[in-house]
Amino acid sequence: MRRADTRRAGGTGLLVALAGFVLALALGLGLQALMQARLDRALAPDQAALLDTAANVAEQSLGRALAHDLPVAQLPGIEAWLETMRGNLGTDARIELELEGQTFSAGVAQAGDVARTRTLDPPGIDARLVFHLPRHAVPDGVAGSLWYPALVALAAALLGWVVFRLGAGRALVRSRARLEQRLALLDTGAFAADAPDTARAYGRMPADAALHALALRLEPVNLRHALLLQHAEGLRGIDFDGSLGAQVDEVLADLPGTWRDTTAVRR
């Protein structure tokens, strides 16, 4: 019986752990998304200004190089210059310079990167600078990674399970044990309802409500029992020759069970 109680509470504990995992994961991902979006919004002006600055610098440099009337194809070290720019931008982004149909590049684009284009305006030249940037700015440290919320949710599940086992789970097992114990006594014929003060001491677990319902159901039985005993006492009171008392004892010998006081039920 107790094993079954423990198993049921264990099932509820697992449900609590599962709920803790799902809630922590969902809320954690929501929090991460909200904070990510806020960070993106905060960084957007800086990033746009940085790209504008880079484009201005590129435009000026190109303008100076082209002022020497060199053909575009012969401009020296464009890719090294882009690589330097990439280093100065402090990014892993890929930078492409499209110059009169030719494309020079530095860095490798990642899946999910977003292209941001700045049109350059050196005299008489069709030029564009394309930056392939990550869609989101990833916060420094572990918290920006996707696995971190999952790990935190697992820890929340474990914490929820432990707290449940130490608190509500223990109360749940105890209340079920109280009910099972009372039912076991009922099997032996202990029909006496709990005293009012004992009934008030029931907890607020579901099994306590069941125990309370059982106590209510036993009250009429107890009332009948009390009436029977009063009737028997009355008959004994008018027993002048002892014959009536013997008949009363004979009837009471068939009383169901022990009718013993069950307020001693361990809780």
Binding site: R8, T12, V16, A19, G20, V22, A26, L27, G28, L31, M35, R38, L39, R41, A42, L43, A49, D52, T53, A54, N88, L89, T91, A137, P139, G141, V142, A143, G144, Y148, V152, A153, A155, A156, A157, L159, G160, V163, F164, G167, A168, A171, L172, L183, L186, F191, R204, M205, P206, A207, A209, A210, A213, R217, V221, R224, L227, L244, V251, L255
Partner: protein, 238 residues
């Protein structure tokens, strides 16, 4: 406290701990990323300006006599509204060029110059770098003052609002989850009470209730029989 609320409180503790474990490092990481991005932009601007100035100094002219530096600083300042000021000082602290022309010719101390990047006004940041000639000698100091953008303080406040919003949403979800998880024990108890009150029994709990009901009915019937027998004894005694 009922089972639903106790489970909800348990879940709330777990969820609050989880959100705290996520929020604090996220906040720190995001603020660090923000600072880094802002610094990158400032440094990029500073480095490109430095390259321009050093390129002009490399012709061998004295920094103060280098042509077009003042115009270049003003063009850069006009190009980027976030830039509040750009100044070029001698290493001794004399202002040679500046986007605020009134300051040109003013003198400050080398100590102030050295401390300037760390002493920005609220909402601003200051970056500085030494200007060197072809021989590697320090011939000046370039200082750039720019707006902080949204600012780390406002960003941190936004993150706090996000945290509170998610906590409030979590509070409602936790109550619902507590109710859902507690449904089974409540259903068991309800089935027991239904069985006890003579309604159709469902599940183990319902059967346990029905069994208790049968025992009680049997006891009631027996008490009734005994009462009748006592009544018979009573009648016979008259």
């Amino acid at each position: 406290m009922g089972l639903s609320l106790r489970i909800a409180a348990t879940l709330a503790a777990a969820v609050i701990a989880a959100l705290a474990a996520l929020w604090f490092p996220l906040r720190e990481g995001a603020l660090a990323q923000y600072e880094r991005q802002h610094d990158t932009r400032m440094q990029f601007r500073l480095q490109t300006l430095l390259a321009e100035v050093e390129n002009r100094v490399s012709y061998g002219l004295d920094l103060a006599e280098t042509p077009n530096v003042q115009q270049m600083l003003e063009a850069v300042r006009a190009d980027d509204p976030d830039i509040h000021a750009i100044e070029i000082f001698t290493p001794e602290g004399l202002v040679l060029f500046g986007t605020d022309r009134v300051l040109i010719g003013d003198r400050t101390s080398p100590e102030w110059l050295a401390m300037a990047p760390g002493n920005a006004a609220p909402g601003e940041s200051v970056v500085g770098i030494a200007i060197r000639n072809n021989l590697g000698e320090e011939v000046g100091v370039l200082l750039l003052t720019a707006a902080d953008g949204i600012g780390p303080g406002a960003l941190a406040q936004g993150f706090a609002r996000d945290g509170v919003l998610v906590l409030l949403a979590g509070f409602g979800l936790v109550l619902v989850a507590g109710w859902l998880v507690a449904r089974r024990p409540h259903r068991d108890a309800a089935a027991f009470v239904a069985g006890l009150n003579g309604h159709p029994a469902t599940g183990d709990s319902g059967q346990a209730g029905a069994r208790a009901d049968a025992l009680i009915r049997e006891a009631e019937a027996q008490l009734d029989r005994l009462s009748q027998r006592l009544a018979g004894v009573d009648d016979a005694s008259r």
